[in-house]
């Protein structure tokens, strides 16, 4: 067993886990944070994307032990109380989700990307989403949602 202690969505969480436990299952099964989904076994789909020290990672590509001592944000940590994150708001406003399975990963990937590039073009957003698959939306409204969120986040800061 390996001891893992992390800060998740602002709270300190720790547990003993099997050394081979992937971060995605540590979050989902050990900590009960099931908002982060898993959709593949080849690091292809991106549904497991979370923020590790503010940057997006696919949580199926690393062990829980590798996150020890670091800070994680999952989809459950995006809203502040009843106040949805601007990305969550814009996904809703623009019908950026259908079945919703890819959505947490899309939002986390977008949150990380918008920090890097707060005013992206449509092409930029499409490129940034290359590692995140969606089978329902054809991506059009996901891209629209992210561009819209970028706009509203810039507006809020101005």
């Amino acid at each position: 067993m390996t001891h893992v202690s992390v800060t998740v969505n602002g709270a300190m969480r720790e547990a003993d886990v099997e050394p081979r436990t992937l971060l995605v299952y540590f979050l989902r099964e050990t900590l009960g944070l099931t908002g982060t989904n898993a959709g593949c076994d080849t690091s292809s789909c991106g549904s497991c994307t979370v923020l590790l020290d503010g940057e997006s990672v696919k949580s199926c590509t690393m062990l829980a032990a590798q996150a020890d001592g670091r800070e994680l944000t999952t989809i459950e940590g995006m809203a502040e109380g009843d106040q949805l994150h601007p990305l969550q708001e814009s996904f809703r406003r623009n019908h950026g989700l259908q079945c919703g399975y890819c959505t947490p990963g899309m939002i986390m990937a977008a949150a990380s990307y918008l920090k890097e590039n707060p005013s992206p073009s449509e092409g930029d957003v499409r490129l940034a989403l290359e590692g995140n698959l969606c089978r329902c939306t054809g991506y059009q409204n996901i891209v629209k949602s992210i561009l819209d969120a970028a706009g509203s986040m810039a507006g809020a800061e101005a």
Binding site: Q88, C99, R135, C136, G138
Partner: protein
Amino acid sequence: MATTETFIGQPVLRKEDPELLTGHASYIDNWTMPGMLWMALARPPYVHATIDGIDTTEAASMPGVVGVYTATDFDLAPLPFVWPITEEIKVPVHYPLASDKVRFNGDAVAVVLAETREQALDAAEAVAVTATELPAVIDIEEAAKDEVIVHDDLGTNVVVHWSHGGGGDQSVFDSAPVIVQERYVQPRLIPNAIETRGCLAYGVPPVDEWTLVTATQIPHIAKVTLAGTTGIDEHKLRVIAPDVGGGFGSKLNVYAEEALALALARRLRRPVKWIEGRRENYVATTHGRGVLHDCTLAGTEDGTILGMKFVELADMGAYYQLLTPGIPELGGWVYMGPYDPKAYWFEFKGVVTNTTPTDAYRGAGRPEATYVIERLVDSFARRIGKDPADIRRMNLHPPHEDAQTSIMGLNVDSANYEPLLDKALGLVEYDKLRAEQRDRRERGDRTQLGIGLSTYIEMCGLAPSNILGALRYAAGGWDGATIECLPSGHVIVKTGTSPHGQSHETAWAQIVADGLGVSPDEITVLHGDTHSTPLGMDTYGSRSVAVGGVALHFAVEKIKAKARTIAAHELEVAEDDLEWADGAFRVKGAPDTAKTIPELAVSAWHAHALPAEVEPHLNATAVYDPPNFTWPAGAHVCVVEVDTETGATEIVRYVAVDDCGTIINPMIVEGQVHGGVAQGVAEALYEEAMYDESGNLTTSTMTQYLIPSATEIPAMTTDHSQETPSTTNPLGVKGIGEAGTIAAPPAVVNAVIDAVSHLGVTAIEKPASPERVWRAIQEAKGDGRAGASPGSEGGTS
């Protein structure tokens, strides 16, 4: 709260979103229970082999393992197959676990229960199978030769032959001035819902009651059929579809794992959970398409289509799943397309192979049909040197507002196709594009422009039960709706449809909101639980709004009839003196004297002063069996650039004009079109399930099977301003879930061929990969076809 607003036709934001956006969805893998065991299946690495022995000792002794079971440990009936489309059909026996032979990559022979997911998976790997390998047959034409037999007891691989037969003057196929003959191959596709399958079975052992929570599109059909497979009494079985992460037909099925989880939970009296891995999904969940068509078009030199004839060979896979041979049959009613041929012929043969069973994949039979029709029409246009848009326009079926019997025998509810084509051509600026294409061709540019069209019809709203009966389908096509108006003013809607991304909670609330004069915020839609919503036939075939949505309309009418009686009684007027206006029953001539539905719900609840004949409580149930199908239609145009040196294709424009009848929520309609087109583009350019020579799936992971991402899928222009109401139902709705997937593949492939047709290329198959395109160009060059004028196409006769 009562409201006078109207909601049908408005882009109401989704009621589903808050949970999904905040990480609080109920997908199957989010379920856990005390005492729960994990299930895993042993799928030996054979394609076709006789099983000599299964040794479970090592697996059984591994840490955490509670039990390892093979077929002989169960007393299960075969898995359900509900569509024996002909009297003579041969039906392969399909048990949840294989015991005599492995017949495809995903066939399971043993099942393991363990305390954790990992322990179960490790033990499943350790199940040792000794087997004698047999030659495998993967290709359908090879399989049809019967040199290798998949099911010895059937004696042949050609298990079904269904002929629609012919209509009109068949001699046109020999004697018409222009005869175009083509063969089109449509590869197998892997549906790839981003959530794999999974289920959790648990129960109340003392009373022998069992619940299956499963990632399915069809909880109601699953309940009935799983009762049969497991022997659990139907009234003691409950099936719940929680939030489901996409289906696309792959969850329109009843699978071995569902039966096994139930049987094991019952045997061990503990909850049993199974979650499919993605590699497992690629072999164990149904595939789509996998068909081959020989096609003939008979026409005149001026471009009139006289007849179309299609002979299909369809890959069934190693067994039938729920509907397998019914899928090509479903396509078998739309081979006239939106055109007006005076003669047709359609028949197909189903062939078993050593591959994953095929079944519905978004569109189910209708994309396969539309693809070959639209390719053939383009081929005809090229042959006679005419513009494919002109050929389509001159052959479109004339418009009709009332239902009309098509040449293939079913009633088309309403039609108005030409404006759709004109709209699409206008939006894409067709003439300008053709001019640019000419310029590029004249200059001999490396990057050439291609414009591809697809005009389509669909047959949706499955389905009138009597027609399903005539087609030998075991179930009906009706759906149910119950509405309960609570005294608090809230309205509960129970629907028999079972969404997995299609936004029924929102759209259904809009329908009821308009009907009852309440806000959608005051309406809760329950679905997908055979306990709380017992009357249903689930979600597939673009049926939900056209059947389940219409059932709601009739339940609303019943509520209103009852509410009107109560209102008249309370207002002391005759019922005829009331009219429904602005969300309330109002006294004619004195509109301020009124009763709203929430007010009447209170009266019906306390029941202190109801008219004698009126039962307390304002509720109603309607079960609706549609009198006809619905027939959406549309025109899509795809514009591509093809690099003639590398064969690489880029979609530069995509226009989708769809007429799905009355629209409940335009935002949702648009989203359905986007997603459908994306899947169609994927089918046209990227996706194909491939096997090696010994029959192993080589595209066995998401890294090998090319699912397009946001960089490959183009931005799309959609238009749904034409709403030709369906005459089938009072809402006028037709359905939109599959339109994109039906229309897009031929639009894209036609565009790719069009881009290089001046080089002599006349055919490129799906997926039109750079390699395929490049080869087609090289072959055309080798044949000296380059420079041939559009009117002198060689390859067909």
